[in-house]
Symmetry: C2
Subunit: 419 residues, 2 copies
Amino acid sequence: MSSARPGGRPSTSPPAFAELWRDLEPLGRDARSGGYRRFSWTEADARCRSWFTERATERGLATHADGNGNLWAWWGKPGPGAIATGSHLDSVPDGGAYDGALGVVSALAAVDLLQQKSFYPERPVVLGAFTEEEGARFGVACLGSRLLTGGIAPETARALAGDGGVTLAEAMTAAGFDPAAIGPRDDLLAGLAAFVELHIEQGRALAPLGSCVGVAEGIWPHGRWRLRFGGRADHAGTAELAGRRDPMLPFAHAVLAARQAAAARGGRATIGKVTAEPGGANAVPAQVTAWLDARAGDEAALAGTVSIVRSVSEKTAAEHGVTLDMRQESYSPPVRFDAELRDRIIGVLAAAGMAAPVLPTAAGHDAGVLAARLPAAMLFVRNPSGISHSAAEHADLADCEAGVRALAAVLEDLAGPAR
Amino acid sequence: MSSARPGGRPSTSPPAFAELWRDLEPLGRDARSGGYRRFSWTEADARCRSWFTERATERGLATHADGNGNLWAWWGKPGPGAIATGSHLDSVPDGGAYDGALGVVSALAAVDLLQQKSFYPERPVVLGAFTEEEGARFGVACLGSRLLTGGIAPETARALAGDGGVTLAEAMTAAGFDPAAIGPRDDLLAGLAAFVELHIEQGRALAPLGSCVGVAEGIWPHGRWRLRFGGRADHAGTAELAGRRDPMLPFAHAVLAARQAAAARGGRATIGKVTAEPGGANAVPAQVTAWLDARAGDEAALAGTVSIVRSVSEKTAAEHGVTLDMRQESYSPPVRFDAELRDRIIGVLAAAGMAAPVLPTAAGHDAGVLAARLPAAMLFVRNPSGISHSAAEHADLADCEAGVRALAAVLEDLAGPAR
């Protein structure tokens, strides 16, 4: 395999990373914002899927999709005790190039590195690319891994509708996938011994520590709530303020309450999506719908934050004759990654000369969903600005290449001869 | 003319009103909301235009469009000293059936009534249907009458862009109109002796007074401001609150400040349109754009309201590292309608047995724009709920028919033999 690659680079450098990266980079990129719009089951998504399948096939890996659209590429004969790695290819609206994609590209590049040094896995290595990790189209984060593990019922998932009202079932059908086939795959999970996800750091903890790679401790509990404030459309000039039922006012109170409640608990609260209907500049809106993303270091702090947003929203909605429908769209309990796997990874990296600090994270990941079913771990690659979910997200090439070397070392250890 | 109409109804009833109304009612109606989406230069708009031209032609009126897309239908030979009436056919998003359309339908029905009683105008009567009164597509209210009177420069208007980025010039071209022809028409205005606009009441002043028709005193000063809060996209989980530049927070402060400032001055402030970009539920938005509609009984109160919104927005934006770009999109100074014309109309209505109270209004109208150039007046038809700019807007048929009788009496007086 490595003989097919020209250049004769030293075995410690990942020759294919930059090339793979360049290849994937233009897919789903928005010309205006420079950010990505890789939403599941769209044309951009199909192009990313083809790209992954082709790159894996070139490397001699056997590929298939599970019924949930998650892609798998096997190095070595599929069988029990497999070591899985990978991440996702979808993005938030105008997201960065690294979130998700870095883990998939690094997995392919790590296989290159191991093949180049003529390593052959004792147990199979399988690369995964999960569907709809961001929940950008259908509102449920980690949808592909949740379906795989039974974390969401197939009938619930099929009925999820995106902004234009298209359901997951309709979108999958349009993309040539059978929505009747979605659901848990215990057979597949039973064959996996561990999952290691490499991901760009989301935040800025590694830079001050001078480390290019870190290891995840756990994931904060987090969730998403939809708040629908129902008022009454009216004329912006002639409707007296006192008689209005203006949903924009309790919404504004909810925004400020969310921030204050999260800050008081050292957590996070964000309202990044809001729609006012019908949206006339000279009319009181009939309805304002907003999405609250809330996270905290523990479940009590998270519940406290959400409870305050709910009570402030209820109180101010009532004051303005507005109705409130607040419902949880998704919830992820706290994750503590497998301590034994984590310590083994730290040891492997130390032996390779890499000091990898242990970091908590407030971001959800497919590794967090899989952690409920098998030992899982995460490697983080330094994000010098800490910016994430933005076109400005960035990691240096040297750090990405260090991440590939780290992942290759971990796979070599986990899939190599038993210790 | 009246001999062409079957039925032999008494001359005091407006036979054609209900028929005209039924005819226009389905055009541009949204099946889901039940409200109207008659936006200028769209297909719905073209259908409304054709409807008006055909109904006017059936009545023997000579129709033409001025360069701004405003439609005119002449009863009697076009010439100086004409009495103009009419309103507009466009709507706010999911607006009601009456706002604008009632004035156009009533003008046609009033001509029917006068033709039926064999009245022939001594001076020409001209019916107008103005373009983009609501500013729902291009953001500037009364765009057609402003262009006609020189209240907005043609090059400014041509460059106005709607939500999809389509400019007025492009939209007019697509609809088969020449955008090079827009601009003031002093020749046309010089031929008009008066303009009387009938409109559904927007508010609820007539119902408690037991009157079905009222007369306008004046129009509050009002305007529209666009606030663009520029922040930085970031991850909803991992970006610490303290380091964020979240534009949603100063926006929320602006919403609450606008309400409070308007309430303190007995005026109005409304934010009915807001967009958060890129709009991901798990990302801090990069930008929030909102439109403020503000009105007050006098210009000092209006300026005070806007000034408070600006200073609160600036202060809270700065606190969050967010930029603010706040600009006036339109401004309408106060209008006091011509007192002589108003008193003459009150007298005519009293003679016809209708007590018409004089009402102020906080809504802008084409009559307010034209009032700067010629004597103008408005008749209001009772709105029993006061709801406006909503699919729930309503007027009773009997009140609409009374409005037609009132308008016919006014036209008969103004266009009849000199007193």
